[in-house]
């Protein structure tokens, strides 16, 4: 998967490039709007991460030009401006998603993966990781032969972690995706919920699946 980052702030661009490369993406970088537009329209990218405030050509103009040639190109807006009008304008001009600086890299990564999965997802009805199997339609989960007795929220949390297996999900993102909490809240709630889920999913078994990544969040994977 090839990603283009159009960002003039050197340090931001450098860590994004590093982080995304380490997550398995091929990453190109442009440091101004003109260069970004040229690269975006002359190479094949799966996703463009676009800053709004750019030298030479601003993000609004770049996205309009990109959309003229590639109506289906996925674009993620990245900006320090966070008033609603900007958000609305960005989405109206055809941005697929919008992230406000400062953001956690894990959150960006999650959104990038969501965008790239869009359209190509095989929305499966069941998931299985190691001996964990989840039947999304029937709302059932089990490890080996043992049926897990989960509350609806615990089930939703497990499904989220399992669907994104291998990805570290931040507390903020989990709160947003499971409880729809899209404001700054007490994320200790997420820790409590994960702890309870672990009691049911991991505690009775030797092979632990849910791991905490200190300072970043949680990940479900076979280790």
């Amino acid at each position: 998967m090839r990603i283009l980052i159009v960002e003039d702030e050197r340090k931001t661009a450098a860590y994004l490039q590093k982080g995304l490369s380490e997550s398995g993406f091929v990453v190109d970088h442009a440091s101004n709007g003109e260069e970004g537009l040229y690269l975006a329209t002359h190479h094949q990218y799966d996703l463009v991460i676009l800053d709004v405030m750019l030298p030479k050509l601003d993000g609004w103009t770049v996205i309009v030009e990109i959309r003229k040639q590639y109506p289906d190109m996925r674009v993620l807006f990245l900006t320090a401006r966070d008033n609603v009008e900007d958000k609305v304008k960005g989405l109206e001009l055809g941005a697929d998603d919008y992230l406000v600086k400062p953001f956690a890299f894990s959150e960006l990564l999650a959104r990038v993966r969501t965008l790239l999965r869009r359209g190509t997802t095989q929305s499966s009805d069941s998931l299985s990781i190691s001996d964990l199997t989840i039947d999304i339609v029937k709302h059932k989960a089990s490890r080996g032969t043992l049926r897990l007795n989960l509350t609806p929220k615990e089930f939703a949390l497990l499904v989220l972690l399992a669907q994104r297996t291998g990805e570290v999900l931040s507390r903020t993102l989990i709160a947003e995706l499971v409880w729809d909490i899209n404001f700054d809240s007490d994320t200790n709630v997420v820790d409590v919920a994960i702890r309870r889920l672990r009691q049911k999913v991991d505690d009775p078994f030797d092979a632990k699946l849910i791991h905490s990544v200190r300072g970043m969040g949680y990940v479900l994977e076979e280790r």
Binding site: P102, F183, D184, S185, V192, R214
Partner: protein, 457 residues
């Protein structure tokens, strides 16, 4: 200012003076002209109709003093025939107006206009009338001359000097009055100017005393003071805010710098690096959260902020937040509940954030086994109340007035949540205010705390 006051005063005085002067002249002389004209008519009548009866004329005109308005008119009369022969005259007439000085008259023209002229003799002023007269019924013509002593009127009228002096005195008076009025008004403005000049960021406490000012300027003075009050209080808040902010940021940033410097000073194991980076990450996340909260507060203070509002079902909004905190409450063994219904025009995300902050606070300060209860009360169609109460550790009374201030912490040692920014309740208050509501708090140490929200719809 003084000049314009005086100029307008002077113009006003002059106009009045000239008008009065003109009216006086008119009244005085009109009466005199009328009198002379009447006298001539009488003489003509006597000489014409009474068949040239000189003795009747003498009796009627010369011997009887003519009175009008109670004052005696001093006048002299002379009648002569067409050859210049004197017929009758008031004694002394010749000395006043010599025959030779009388104007020539075309005696045949009976209808000729009466002629008037001014005449001065021995410091006495006379108004003279000369008119032809028919003597008897025959075609004998003569002329009448009557001189009226108008010295008094003339004195009054011609005494322009006095008028000038009065005008000058008036003007000087106006000048002083104008100067006084202008000075009085200007002094207030001067004080205002001087005060305004002296005001800088460090001397915002300066005020003016508008009590002694003229009413019109008093309002300005009061408004000026009120403006300073407002600026000063925002300034104090801003200063407090930025000093708090730098304090809040300095500690974590110093920690970060110190930790990073020590780590870089010599080689460490990968595990140690990881640990430092993780610790830094946590600290940075806290700073980031702090900045996000600060931005929220500063935006909420912007009066131009236009938040998107919809009609909220308050019960559902609270249920939504409770759903999120339910597991945590269970974990802490705190019973959380809510009741009541109501609707409110508001911003859903902000409203939830407000409820979330309050509930999260309560959960942090309520010991296991405690209860937290939210009541929604729609007392009437226009007001919605929310009461959030807990039986937690409470807040000592002396802290209550400042509890909604930014970064205010009752006691830093008793905060069980090190990640807290100290902005939670400040954000709650600003959200309440964005919804045109009010918030108040009551609390008793060791008994619990209750927050009262009041929204007018």
């Amino acid at each position: 200012m003084t000049f314009f006051y005086s100029l307008s005063g002077f113009i006003l005085l002059s106009v009045i003076a000239l008008f009065l002067y003109w009216v006086t002249i008119n009244i005085l002389y009109k009466a005199d002209y009328q009198f002379l004209s009447d006298e001539v008519d009488t003489v003509q009548y006597i000489l014409h109709n009474k068949a040239y009866n000189v003795s009747a004329l003498k009796q009627a005109v010369i011997d009887t003093p003519s009175e009008r308005n109670g004052s005696i008119y001093r006048y002299y009369i002379r009648v002569s025939d067409d050859k210049g022969q004197l017929i009758i005259a008031t004694p002394g007439m010749e000395s006043i107006l010599a025959v030779s000085k009388a104007a020539a008259t075309n005696t045949t023209d009976l209808l000729a206009k009466k002629r008037y002229w001014w005449y001065e003799n021995n410091d006495t002023n006379y108004l003279v009338i000369q008119s032809p007269v028919q003597l008897g019924i025959k075609n004998n013509f003569g002329k009448i001359q009557i001189a009226l002593d108008i010295s008094y009127q003339h004195k009054v009228v011609s005494d322009r000097k006095k008028l000038g002096i009065a005008l000058l005195a008036g003007t000087i008076l106006v000048l002083f009055l104008g100067f006084f009025i202008a000075h009085r008004g200007m002094r207030s403005l001067y004080v205002l100017t001087e005060t305004a000049k002296m005001i800088t960021a460090t001397s915002l406490h300066q005020r003016i005393d508008p009590k002694s000012w003229p009413t019109e300027l008093g309002t300005l003075g009061i408004a000026f003071n009120q403006m300073l009050d407002r600026i000063e209080s925002s300034f104090i808040r801003l200063k407090q805010f930025s000093s708090d902010l730098s304090h809040e940021l300095r500690i974590p940033i110093n920690n970060l710098i110190g930790e990073t410097e020590i780590t870089l000073s010599r080689a460490h194991s990968i595990d140690e690096y990881q640990q430092v980076l993780t610790s830094n990450l946590e600290e940075l996340q806290r700073i980031s959260q702090l900045i996000e909260s600060m931005l929220f507060l500063s935006r909420a203070e912007n009066p131009q902020l236009d938040i998107h509002k919809t009609l909220l079902n308050v019960h559902e909004e609270i249920a939504f937040v409770f759903d999120y905190y339910q597991t945590m409450a269970e974990e802490k063994n705190i019973r959380i509940s809510y009741e009541g219904n109501g609707q409110l025009l508001g911003n859903s995300i902000m409203f939830r954030r407000m409820i979330s902050n309050v509930l999260s606070n309560s959960l942090n300060y309520t010991p296991p086994g405690g209860t937290i209860h939210f009541s929604i009360i729609e007392s009437d169609k226009d007001t919605l109340h929310i009461i959030a109460s807990d039986n937690g550790i409470g807040i000592p009374e002396e802290h209550l007035p400042k509890i909604f201030d930014r970064f205010y912490r009752v006691d830093s040692s008793r905060s069980p949540q090190p990640g807290g920014t100290g902005l939670g309740l400040a954000i709650v208050k600003s959200i309440v205010e964005l919804h045109s509501g009010t918030i108040s708090i009551t609390s008793q140490a060791e008994k619990g705390t209750a927050l009262f929200f009041s929204f007018s719809k």
